[in-house]
């Protein structure tokens, strides 16, 4: 027990974030590329987990806010030449506004009806981005979203030798770390505790005078906000925004990351993002049957480790302790 407490006191999140800053120093552009992908998807997955793990709300349409954020940031930066420092927060805000609008209806439903409605709204977002040729570029999307101007970063010691994509990576890690820190504050706040209470028993929470719907809606908006920021970053990283960003497979991808990593812990979904991206990367270079591998992985996971990878590791630590005490 003592060992666990000592382990828990280490600021793991901060350590990982600082360590992540040194990835470009290894010198391989490929590592930086993969690490950027992981950092962004980690934020996306953790934002979903606010609903899934903390609020007990299964959203099948989280990609909608990711897509809205990506389009907002991409259009602002590419078409209107708005600087990144304005475009990214605007992307997050717009995603939050849409989350408020859609969430207003979604939280009126529960369980599978809630899930279906989130999916329905996401499909609407996808259909609009697919059809609205003059704004979103339609099916062809919007390629060549510019990198933010990060020449300022070159002044930071140690960063001078980095490439544009490395600078963007450093920025991404910083932003993702900040967003995760905020999200962690949110789940540990009284609001976060209430959210967990609602998950455990919505009726009883209602009886003690808590406005369940309002709390759920607020969680929905916060999750949408951070998904929008992740989307904005991803559009730049991906060098273009496409309707696929809001399509349902994206929603299921992030759902899988969250479940794979473990929705019972704050960083679980981030670990899930890490594992899923690396596995996808490696397996698709050998076979085109990635969905088959993923299916087997999920079945194994759901039956053997319902707590995800982090849940399983936690179990391992507990067992080791018991062995040591015995």
């Amino acid at each position: 027990m003592a060992a666990r407490r000592r382990l828990a006191r280490v600021p793991w999140g901060l350590l990982v974030a600082v360590a992540a800053l040194f990835v470009p120093a290894i010198g391989s552009r490929f590592y930086t590329f993969v690490a950027t992908d992981i950092a962004i998807m980690a934020l996306f997955a953790v934002s979903l987990n606010l609903l899934l793990g903390y609020g007990g709300l299964v959203s099948f349409g989280h990609a909608a806010y990711f897509g809205i954020g990506a389009y907002a940031c991409g259009i602002l930066m590419k078409v209107h030449a708005v600087p990144f420092s304005v475009a990214l927060p605007a992307a997050g805000l717009l995603a939050a506004v849409f989350a408020a609008l859609f969430g207003f209806f979604c939280v009126r439903l529960t369980k599978i009806y809630f899930a279906m409605l989130t999916l329905a709204f996401a499909q609407i977002v996808w259909a609009v981005s697919f059809k609205w040729n003059s704004v979103t570029g339609g099916e062809q999307g919007m390629s060549d979203v510019p990198y933010p101007d990060l020449s300022g970063l070159a002044w930071v010691p140690g960063l001078a030798g980095y490439r544009t994509s490395d600078h963007f990576y450093v920025l991404t890690v910083g932003l993702v770390a900040a967003c995760l820190w905020i999200l962690r504050r949110v789940v540990r706040s009284p609001f976060g505790r209430l959210l967990t209470t609602i998950r455990e028993n919505p009726e009883r929470t209602e009886f003690i005078g808590v406005d369940v719907r309002r709390h759920e809606l607020l969680a929905f908006i916060i999750a949408g906000l951070f998904a929008g920021i992740a989307g904005g970053l991803f559009g730049i990283f991906n060098r273009g925004v496409f309707p696929d960003f809001a399509y349902w497979p994206k929603s299921s991808d992030v759902l899988i990351m969250t479940i794979l990593g473990g929705m019972g812990s704050f960083y679980g979904p981030a670990i899930g993002a890490l594992i899923l991206i690396i596995l996808n990367q490696e397996i698709t270079s050998y076979t085109e049957y990635w969905p088959f591998v993923l299916g087997i992985l999920l079945i194994t996971l759901l039956f053997l480790f319902p707590g995800g990878v982090v849940g399983a590791l936690g179990g391992l630590v507990r067992r080791l302790e018991r062995m040591r005490r015995a």
């Binding site: 391989s28 552009r29 490929f30 590592y31 590329f33 993969v34 992908d37 697919f130 059809k131 040729n133 339609g138 099916e139 062809q140 999307g141 390629s143 060549d144 991906n238 060098r239 273009g240 496409f242 696929d244 960003f245 890490l274 594992i275 690396i278 596995l279 990367q281 490696e282 698709t284 270079s285 085109e288 992985l297 194994t300 053997l304 480790f305 990878v309 399983a312 590791l313 179990g315 391992l316 067992r319």
Partner: protein, 396 residues
């Protein structure tokens, strides 16, 4: 149980730490293409065509004395997956060149990656004009496919010879359908100012029920129809239009682009094909313009073990052929030099002489057009006769 979860994590971590670094003697060509889902119908044969060419070149000693290695990756038909795969090919597999992509979303998306990494990218299938439009053009992108302007105008050239006045169009409601239809309409009006477009139908991409569109169209009493429903969508459309009597109503004055005249589509439909209409195709095994093409068709037939080999293979084949000829001409695998060598390069392909135009990096690629007639010997429709429409006079 617990050990296994550790194993997964460890394998994942190890997998990241052990990428292949070795940059051997081989010339590596990344080939991102759709290999799953509906688009695989075009992606797979294009990839096979490229593979056949590579095997032939390697058997003959390679290029600059070095063998070529084709690294194929599935793009799943998603633009963002295509971008991911293309960057992975460049950053992890260290490919020297990229050839590939199918859809009009994938092509321009991968073009951005090619530009940023200064890697030559040859697109064998995407048709969107945007790929090589002036504002998107950069030194490293090239296309050996026909573009939407060429396809629409070629169809107009055919229809201009018909004795028709009132034309209806039908096409999927997204970039490709709109662009081809626009190119057709503006060109036919230029060629035959008396022509009137009486109706335009825009079913959504992937529509399964064309009946309301067909009825609306027939209500306008056109005497000719232009369709750019491609692949399986044309099959569905034609099967639904037949019992409604659309083809008789316009006296078979129908031109179906989007490769509706390809041997693959004709074979799929068999005797259900609306014989008598006009279709187009990139290639046809029964087309014999030269001994070189006859030889190519025979080699392909053997390679694919198919008596009626695919018409899409030629796109992968000519894409790779252009690349290899440019490497030879440049005497180097440096992308910058190869890109320069590709400008204005003319080569002899199985379908005849092709040139990559210097001004817009676009090959003067036309397509085959012909009246679809049942060939009793093989049991499906063929273009009779298949006529190659050379676009060089109306590309600009």
């Amino acid at each position: 149980m617990l050990r296994r979860s550790l194993l997964v994590t460890l394998t994942a971590a190890l997998a990241l730490l052990l990428p292949s670094y070795a940059r051997g003697e081989k010339i590596k060509v990344g080939f991102p293409i759709i290999l799953s889902g509906g688009g695989a119908l075009f992606g797979e044969p294009a990839m096979k065509g490229a593979q056949m060419y590579v095997e032939e070149i390697n058997a003959a000693g390679g290029v600059l004395g070095r063998p070529i290695e084709l690294i194929v990756r599935d793009t799943k038909g998603n633009a963002d997956e295509a971008v991911r795969v293309a960057r992975e090919l460049i950053l992890k597999d260290n490919v020297d060149f990229l050839v590939g992509t199918v859809t009009s979303a994938e092509g321009p998306a991968v073009s951005v990656v090619a530009k940023e990494n200064k890697i030559v990218f040859i697109a064998p299938i995407p048709k969107t004009d945007q790929l090589t439009a002036p504002e998107k053009l950069h030194p490293y992108v090239f296309r050996v496919a026909a573009n939407t302007t060429v396809e629409g105008r070629s169809a107009a050239e055919v229809v201009a010879k018909w004795n028709v006045k009132q034309i209806a169009t039908i096409g999927p409601d997204y970039a490709y359908g709109q662009d081809v239809t626009r190119a057709f309409v503006s060109w036919i009006k230029k060629l035959k100012p008396g022509v009137e477009i009486v109706d335009q139908e825009w079913p959504k991409l992937g529509e399964a029920d064309y009946t309301p569109f067909i009825n609306a169209m027939m209500g306008k009493k056109p005497d000719a129809v232009f369709s750019c429903l491609w692949g399986g969508f044309f099959v569905t459309f034609a099967k639904q239009a037949k019992p409604l009597g659309l083809f008789e109503a316009v006296k078979l004055n129908v031109i179906a682009v989007g490769e509706a005249g390809s041997p693959e589509t004709a074979k799929t439909m068999g005797s259900d094909y609306p014989f008598g209409i006009w279709g187009n195709s990139y290639d046809a095994f029964y087309w014999h313009p030269s001994p070189a093409h006859r030889d190519y068709a025979e080699r392909l037939s053997k390679y694919l073990k198919d008596p009626y080999p695919s018409s899409w293979a030629i796109q992968g084949y000519t894409g790779m052929q252009f690349l290899v000829e440019a490497i030879k001409k440049a005497g180097s695998t440096d992308s910058e030099k190869v890109a320069k060598a590709l400008l204005g390069l003319t080569i002899d392909t199985p379908i005849g002489r092709q040139t990559l135009r210097e001004k817009d990096h676009q090959a003067d690629r036309g397509q085959l057009y012909g009246k679809m007639t049942l060939d009793p010997a093989i049991g499906f429709a063929v273009m009779k006769p298949p006529t190659y429409i050379d676009p060089s006079r109306f590309m600009d």
